[in-house]
Symmetry: C2
Subunit: 403 residues, 2 copies
């Protein structure tokens, strides 16, 4: 019986890779003064429909629980964040800088590389309206990728101004219920024939094309770009008005991170959503955030051989050539572990050659041979790299292995 | 809208506590040569009913997904482990020593302290039949608790022999379908009136009472106890035949860890289950394991004030007394972070007194004041503990903060 389609098993090597990725995420966010939070992987269904409308239900793992509650496995973190911030924002100084690494779930049609779960770094900055907050958040997104060894040759942040498009549509008196279609057409500008986009845009086509082809003025973007330059991150972004972030709730600068090769889907995306907390949680606080999944990033890091965590290893292997001294060997094993040394020994009678083989396979640097000499208070310590063996008094064993 | 009943939100302080607990779990398991794995939080329902029978469905979060699959949120890790080991055991040397920290879910009637989710350290040792493996696993359970600073004054492992009871029931020709009732009565021996237990045990009562009151011979337990003594862990267990571990699949030594005060529910429990992998995954490998939840352990550690992770803090706060120099300040902030220093600055114009206050509240050791002096290539560095302030050349800033 395999795992469910779209769900991953993490065998030790995969788990080590995932944990190394999480560690880098955590370390970078903490360097920016973000602190970690988490919420439940199951929430009331209404939390998601309230944000995204009834359409979202088609993508959710949702059901009615034994208490007759309509519930859903979390498909994104923002609704949980909004709920938690609404309940407790008074306890925290502003700006609130929080991050989380939830596993999120969506029932999607299976496609190449698409999974039904992934882990997602979520970084959100709440309670700060200034554009310096946008600069801070985008810098964190850039530095998160740089922390893995990726450079401006590897990725770029596509920077856009969602509010610019909203103002544009308002100035053309386009009714709000048609905005989504326009955003979709703009979003797909690079990926579908110009005629098709023109058809979708109708009378707006010429003006939109002009903006997409030649850019437009945005004071917001000027300020954010100057902020990034002040931080020495001027090579990490380009202005790109095709980035609109489909979701209805964005209200300002939006951005997505892409691999420069164009081979992969977006690595990360986010932006400002100043009205969302009010709509979801009833708390009127400006906010912005981004999400970065582990799947696309993981593929890129593997391709570029940038994240190669060492497989877990032990430092010392206790060799038991003679079962007579198993109890003494076990006592020494315990002393090593008590001293913080990762150590192991055979759990049943094993030929000595196979024990040394295990020691090497497990990555041990030293073998500690416990035999009749233990009666004189000594053990033999063999350095596995050069196979040199010396007799060591028991009270010198820990210092020898730690030195 | 709160979280679902029985589900926890982890605000930053709770999340820091949880992460510190996980870190200690990981470090101890790794010292014992265990490596981490993980599996999906959603599995086919059949994976659980195959192990525990149809009765388990009443406790599961289960539903039919959009692909018409009967699925369940994982209620324990062992079925996933059995599935993963069955699929890939040939790729791993025996014994396999694996651990995981899954979140698991059960729909239980709400009681004091009962949640519907918790995190659980699972340590399993697969492919080793010798009793030294039991010693190894129980030692890991003991050392996991010792790693938090708990001692033999705080907790004890209650050690029992499930196979002893199986042999006993067989010798009395008790049909297998009555075993569960007997195990239930033995398990509750300490918690219900003797007459009630006698009634449940019927003709077995006298002999069972004799064993529970005076103990019985078990070579298995003798060997395991000697093994624990050899490791210097003789003060951490007591033999206790009331421990039977209700689940049908245990086949040898079983154990539970309890707080000595008797105030809390079991901290951990496990034992040998040599037939389970064959029954679940079709792979005949001896195995044993234990689980330790984060809730009871967390309560004990809080009560004893043993795990008090420092709240996340920054090291340096960049003070901007004059907005004229914000860009320069942002550049310096970036340099600090690039050097691995956790640092922050105000994201909008802020009174200087309030900036120093933020620096202190955030736990910064140093404030870096960026003002007109930046034109001469210097900043003021204030040590917040003694409020001493010195002018530092820019190229000496990182060494000063790191020294």
């Amino acid at each position: 019986m395999p795992s469910l389609p779209g769900f991953r098993d993490f065998y030790p090597a995969d788990c080590a890779f995932r944990n190394a990725l999480f560690s880098t995420w955590r370390a970078t966010a903490q360097r920016y003064g973000f602190v970690e939070y988490d919420g439940p992987p199951l929430e009331e269904l209404e939390l998601y429909t309230k944000k995204s409308g009834e359409e979202i239900v088609g993508q959710l793992y949702h059901f009615v629980d034994k208490g007759e509650r309509a519930v859903a496995m979390r498909s994104e973190m923002t609704p949980t964040l909004a709920r938690m911030v609404a309940a407790a924002h008074r306890d925290y100084k502003k700006p609130i800088k929080w991050f989380s690494i939830p596993q999120v779930f969506r029932y999607e049609r299976m496609q190449r590389g698409r999974l039904r779960e992934h882990f997602q770094l979520n970084c959100d900055l709440i309670g700060e309206a200034s554009l310096e907050a946008d600069v801070e958040l985008i810098s964190l997104c850039i530095d998160t990728l740089r922390s893995f060894g990726l450079t401006d040759k590897d990725f770029v942040i596509r920077l856009s101004d969602r509010q610019f498009w909203v103002d544009f549509l308002k100035s053309k008196n386009i009714p709000e219920d048609q905005w989504y279609g326009v955003f979709q057409a703009i979003d797909k500008f690079d990926r579908q024939p110009r005629e098709k986009t023109a058809e979708l845009l109708g009378p707006l086509a010429d003006e939109v094309f002009n903006i997409l082809d030649h850019g437009a003025a945005s004071e917001r973007l000027d300020t954010v770009e100057n902020g990034l330059k002040a931080r020495g991150l001027g090579d990490y972004y380009k202005r790109d008005f095709t980035i609109v972030r489909g979701l209805a709730y964005y209200t300002g600068v939006v951005f997505e991170a892409f691999d420069r090769s164009g081979e992969f889907r977006a690595i990360a995306g986010g932006g400002r959503y100043d009205n969302l907390l009010k709509n979801l949680g009833g708390v009127d606080l400006p906010a912005l955030g981004f999400g970065m999944g582990d799947v696309v990033l993981g593929e890129i890091l593997k391709k570029k051989e940038l994240l190669k965590p060492a497989t877990a290893s032990i430092q010392a292997y206790v060799v038991v050539p003679d079962e007579t001294y198993r109890a003494e060997a076990a006592g020494i094993l315990q002393k090593l572990r008590d001293a913080g040394i990762a150590a192991d020994m055979p759990l049943s009678p094993t030929k000595i050659g196979k024990q040394f083989q295990s020691a090497e396979e497990r990555g041990a640097t030293h073998a500690v041979v416990v035999d009749a000499e233990i009666k004189n208070g000594t053990v033999a310590v063999k350095t596995l790299a050069d196979r040199k063996q010396v007799a060591i008094a028991l009270d010198q064993l820990i210092p020898t292995l730690k030195g």
